[in-house]
Amino acid sequence: MNIVRFVKSSVTVAEMEARKIRHDSTELWTRIIQPALWLLIFGETFNAIRAMPSGNFSYLQFITPGILAQSVLFISIFYGITVVWERDVGIITKLLSTPSPRSSIVLGKSLAASLRGVFQAIMIFGLALLLGVKIRLDLPDILGIFAVVILFAMCFSSLSMLLASFMKTRDRMMGIGQALTMPLFFASNAIYPISIMPVWLQYISIANPLSYVVDAIRSMLLSGTYANLPVDILALLISTTIFVVLASKTIKQLLE
């Protein structure tokens, strides 16, 4: 496989998404509502009653990385629905009939999901600043957070595409998305520390990829201690590669 062509195709598929967003960005703006409510209502309330042991940070500080990760998770885990929809209107047929390698199409689609993730991250940054949440604003940290967000979105959107190849309909994808997001979210360190969970849930949260993402973002956004960062990023890289490879093998099944 020609690597230059591979990269070109992936970027082109992402470009397609960028152009669509440029024509109509309504969806992106509506997506800020949910995380805003989490921060404003849930965050502010628990911040005020000090019910959560959030260590050296205020609770609002503590959940900002969690909400960021959560909203990127929502975008990417439901990305398969977009792909199923694109299958229904023939766009996937068209993409798969080009000479571009199928893996580049899948990679491009996951890049497209991460494009939305990055936009979401920017919005949450803005929101956090607006609420006066103290976050570290070093350029390397911010770039690092974007890198993690991109990888994270790629990882879960390719997982979503992999599932979509078998699920094939929007309804089923909706169901499986719901079934995945809630346990992933609540069995993670997104809105409370792992230490206050019952022991069985602690084990689950250790195997939960979202915990690592939140951990990585938190270390860059709040604490500035990077000890876990290499492990977090390596885990994301490996699972992204696996999911992209698997999804490019299976995506053709969407058409059958």
């Binding site: 082109t12 397609m16 152009r19 024509h23 209107v89 068209k94 009939s97």
Partner: protein
């Protein structure tokens, strides 16, 4: 656009070669059941047949959207199963349902597609503009495609397949759902493409007029098999001439019809269709026959041979035999499952 092909319309180069090609879906559904055919470079070849005959599946195997269960398929000598990307690079594909992206402009649709087809950056813009002009879409190139009419979308679809200058263009029912004038326009561009650039074209349709108008050769598919193949003229000759339709005044008792006059190709309570070599001469004989059997006739009409008849003859023969069996066994399976 530049012409770089010699004047000979068809050449000795084989564009498509299918050998015993087969596609079996789950539950032993034989979508394509061992077909063999070849298409020469520069030809317009039509795959005809009723819905579900296997036309689209055949095209999908060519564009590598689905894998053949068995058999060989070569496009310009390249094995489709071995080098799918190389094959896709030579092909243009217009799927049956609209597949342009409504959320992008026409220009963007072509741009993205050109990039994914690795059209050289220096040529890209020119080719896009050419394709837009060719399909008469230049004026609205920067409108979102979702605001286009069906005919315009179809033309954009073809424009899209042209940006990578395909050697072989696959058109899956290109005029479906188009009004007569858009249809004519699409036909014109298809012919033009073939004549000006020597593009080989494979077209599927169940519109016999379309096939007669466009195709150099056609194959009629039925139930996954090729029932017959040839030039439209030969096939029309092959149906043996004309069809006489007799509308009956009363229900027809079972009769044995004399072979000398013709053969019955369709009969129901109200009417009988008879295939004859010479319709004008057969009419009095037929009239006499029915009179002598005291069957009341309302009207007699004659229909000179056209491709519709070829279609009916070959699609029908299988309908009466095999399909009936399949339907029966499917029904049996269904009953079993629902129990």
């Amino acid at each position: 656009m530049v012409l770089d092909l010699d004047n000979a319309k068809t050449s000795d180069i084989t564009a498509i070669k299918a050998d015993n090609l087969q596609k079996i879906y789950r539950d032993n559904i034989r979508a394509v059941d061992g077909i063999s055919f070849s298409v020469r470079q520069g030809e317009i070849f039509g795959l005809l047949g009723p819905n579900g005959a296997g036309k689209t599946t055949t095209i999908k195997m060519m564009i590598t959207l689905t894998k053949a269960t068995s058999g060989q398929l070569h496009v310009f000598g390249i094995d489709v199963s071995k080098s799918p990307e190389e094959v896709r690079e030579m092909l243009g594909y217009v799927p049956q349902s609209i597949s342009v992206d409504g959320d992008l402009t026409a220009y963007e649709n072509l741009l993205i597609f050109a990039k994914l087809s690795y059209v050289d950056k220096k040529e890209r813009n020119e080719r896009i503009q050419n394709a837009l002009e060719y399909m008469d879409l230049s004026e609205r190139a920067n409108d979102l495609v979702k605001r286009y009419s069906g005919g315009m979308m179809r033309r954009l679809e073809i424009a899209q397949a042209l940006v990578n200058r395909p050697r072989l263009l696959l058109l899956d029912e290109p005029s479906i759902g188009l009004d007569p004038s858009s249809k004519k326009q699409v036909w014109k561009s298809i012919k033009q493409l073939n004549q000006e650039f020597g593009t080989t074209i494979l077209i599927t349709t169940h519109d016999m007029n379309e096939a007669d108008e466009l195709c150099d050769r056609i194959a009629i598919m039925s139930e996954g098999k090729i029932a017959i193949m040839g030039t439209p003229a030969d096939l029309k000759k092959g149906v043996g001439g004309d069809i006489i339709t007799v509308n009956l005044g009363s229900a027809c008792p079972s009769i044995s019809f004399p072979k000398e006059i013709g053969t019955i190709i369709l009969d129901n309570e109200k009417s009988i269709q008879i295939l004859t070599t010479n319709g004008e001469e057969a009419i009095p004989l037929i009239a006499d026959f029915f009179k002598s059997h005291e069957i009341k006739m309302d009207s007699i009409s004659i229909n000179k041979a056209n491709l519709d008849d070829v279609f009916m003859k070959y699609a029908k023969r299988r309908l009466s035999n095999d399909v009936y069996k399949t339907v029966r066994s499917t029904r049996r399976d269904f009953t079993r499952h629902s129990r």
